[in-house]
């Protein structure tokens, strides 16, 4: 068939598909124009397949470039509508927190324990050393930094957990700061996985080293009874989330360093959505941690109450990861 009869024969169909596509792309503008029987959305896949066929024909018959381009555009737009991802985000979010996130973490338990080890070993070493020798902290931090954290957890400090510049801040402002600071740390630990894991390992080591050193140093009177009630409450969420972000980064790194039977690109593409689940879950936990750290941890409840709540928090977090979403797990 020559081009012109081909065009006259099928142009009405192309126009119909184009009308449908414009309707799908702008759902708001579509309401006004009356819908005819041939615009039934159920007919769209059929139209699309036919136009795909026309595009292939037009190319192989060497019809004019403008016609081929028009059909190509129709096909491209149709492809986007037909293969559009599901956007039911609210239902997905609930399902994600209820079962998908803990399930994904259980699936990658080995990587989680690896991240935990990278975090805990330097923390245990520096914690032990600074606990037994108060001078050792100065090997890790300089004097200004040490006096800053000592001030933060000094019983005379009206607002525990805040340094000199921040004692006058309100809890709300600290909430904003914790979100900004802590979730960014989690995201960066994750992104570091793309640098063959070096960024992630560095983030975990660095955080473990400093947190261990500070904890060891402050585990003596007079700081201990301010420090532990303050940090243990949100620590359940915060520390777990940082390690999970690290595990997500290590998943990416594993795909790059040890892709197995797949290409590096293929391994990365396969694991990335899972790693994303972990890091988004961790971000959600850091949000909870920021809330606790800003409003609960500095509150005037007695240390005993806050330590009990901390115990509950840790139990909740651990139980959540062990139990949640187990019912339908295959």
């Amino acid at each position: 068939m020559r081009q012109e009869p081909f065009e006259t024969l099928y142009a009405p169909l192309w126009d119909r598909l184009e009308r449908q596509l414009s309707g799908f792309e702008n759902p708001a503008g579509n309401q006004k124009s009356p819908r005819t029987a041939s615009d039934d959305p159920a007919l769209f896949p059929g139209y699309y397949k036919i136009v795909c066929n026309h595009y292939a024909l037009a190319r192989s018959r060497h019809y004019s470039p403008a016609l081929v381009m028009r059909l190509h555009q129709l096909v491209l737009r149709g492809h986007r509508q037909l293969y559009r991802p599901d956007r039911a985000w609210l239902r997905k979010t609930i399902a994600f927190i209820g079962s998908d996130f803990p399930r994904t973490l259980r699936q990658h338990a080995a990587v989680f324990y690896l991240a935990l080890t990278i975090f805990m070993i330097p923390a245990a070493v520096t914690g032990y050393v600074t606990y037994h020798d108060p001078v050792m902290i100065y090997r890790i931090m300089d004097e200004a930094q040490v006096s800053r954290v000592e001030y933060m957890y000094d019983p005379r400090n009206r607002k525990p957990g805040r340094d000199m510049e921040r004692t006058s801040e309100t809890n709300v402002r600290m909430f904003g700061f914790y979100i900004f600071n802590n979730i960014s740390i989690g995201f960066r630990a994750f992104a570091g996985g793309m640098l063959l894991g070096l960024g992630t390992v560095f983030a975990l080591l660095f955080n473990g080293l400093f947190l261990g050193a500070i904890s060891g140093h402050l585990s003596h009177a007079p700081y201990a009874m301010v420090f532990w009630p303050f940090v243990s409450g949100h620590g359940a969420f915060e520390l777990t989330a940082i390690v999970i972000s690290g595990a997500a980064g290590l998943l990416l790194a594993r795909a790059l360093v040890m892709p197995g039977a797949l290409t590096r690109r293929g391994a990365l593409r396969k694991i990335a959505p899972q790693a994303l689940k972990l890091v988004m879950g961790a971000a959600f936990m850091l949000l909870i941690a920021a809330f606790i750290e800003a409003f609960w941890s500095p509150s005037s409840f007695s240390p005993q109450v806050r330590l009990s709540v901390a115990a509950v928090n840790w139990t909740l977090v651990i139980a959540y990861f062990i139990r949640a979403g187990k019912k339908h797990e295959s």
């Binding site: 292939a56 994750f190 640098l195």
Partner: protein
């Protein structure tokens, strides 16, 4: 189909389940750098505004908290938001780019998040050095975030520029022409409106064996194009 000739340009073809090839035109580092610069200026303007609002003690602690949360959200989720809602950030839109999956389908939430959270790795150590290296090596100008999310940044389709061959009495060419040659002449006829009269004449005169010292060579080619496309 599109793999017959070696490509000098950067077009990538993706074969759909229907067995046809979609052609996508990935955008390179320079144009994406400019898009980033535009977005950066927009973000900077937002930060200045947030700073002014949070500095006025009218809102007190709530104002500064909102300011910090705003900075956090913009820093990490500004591209995610615009790429999901509008298929491109304002900077990309201004330069006619959009983000899609590497298979030509629209961007999904997981990919939008992945490609933008991994931006921090692309930036490392400074000024998107890692991202630039990845773009150079990947073949589709994908930075690290794009590789993990399986996305590409492409030039968005220009508006429908479908033109018909101007009708005129068809004429048979003096000798048989191959399909490719026929297609070239039809392309010339369709795009004639974009060229000046003089340029059209000049181009048509480059085919002396077809138009034979004719006064109006471009009209002869137009007649051939009508012959090929079938109005006889």
């Amino acid at each position: 189909m599109s793999r017959t000739a070696p490509h000098l340009d950067t077009i990538v073809a993706y074969e759909t389940p229907e067995g046809i090839f979609l052609e996508l035109r990935p955008a390179g580092p320079v144009v994406r750098g400019f898009a980033w610069a535009i977005d950066f200026m927009i973000r900077a303007a937002g930060y200045v505004l947030a700073l002014i609002i949070s500095a006025t003690s009218f809102f007190g602690g709530v104002g500064t908290a909102a300011g910090l949360i705003f900075v956090f959200l913009v820093e990490w989720f500004y591209p995610v938001f615009f790429e999901m809602i509008k298929r491109a950030t304002p900077g990309k839109m201004a330069l006619g780019l959009e983000v899609i999956q590497a298979d030509g389908s629209p961007l999904g939430w997981p990919s939008a998040l992945l490609r933008n959270l991994l931006r921090a790795a692309d930036f490392f150590p400074l000024f998107y050095f890692s991202g630039m290296v990845a773009m150079m090596l990947s073949g589709k100008f994908q930075r690290l975030g794009d590789l993990a999310a399986d996305t590409i940044v492409v030039y968005a389709d220009r508006k429908n520029n479908y033109r018909k061959i101007p009708p005129c009495p068809p004429k048979r060419p003096p000798r048989p022409l191959s399909l490719t040659e026929q297609r070239l002449i039809m392309d010339f006829a369709e795009r004639g409106d974009l060229l000046s009269m003089q340029r059209r004449r000049e181009l048509a005169a480059l085919l002396p064996f077809l138009v034979k010292n004719n006064e109006e060579p471009e009209r002869t080619l137009l007649a051939f194009a009508n012959w090929f496309s079938g109005s006889r």
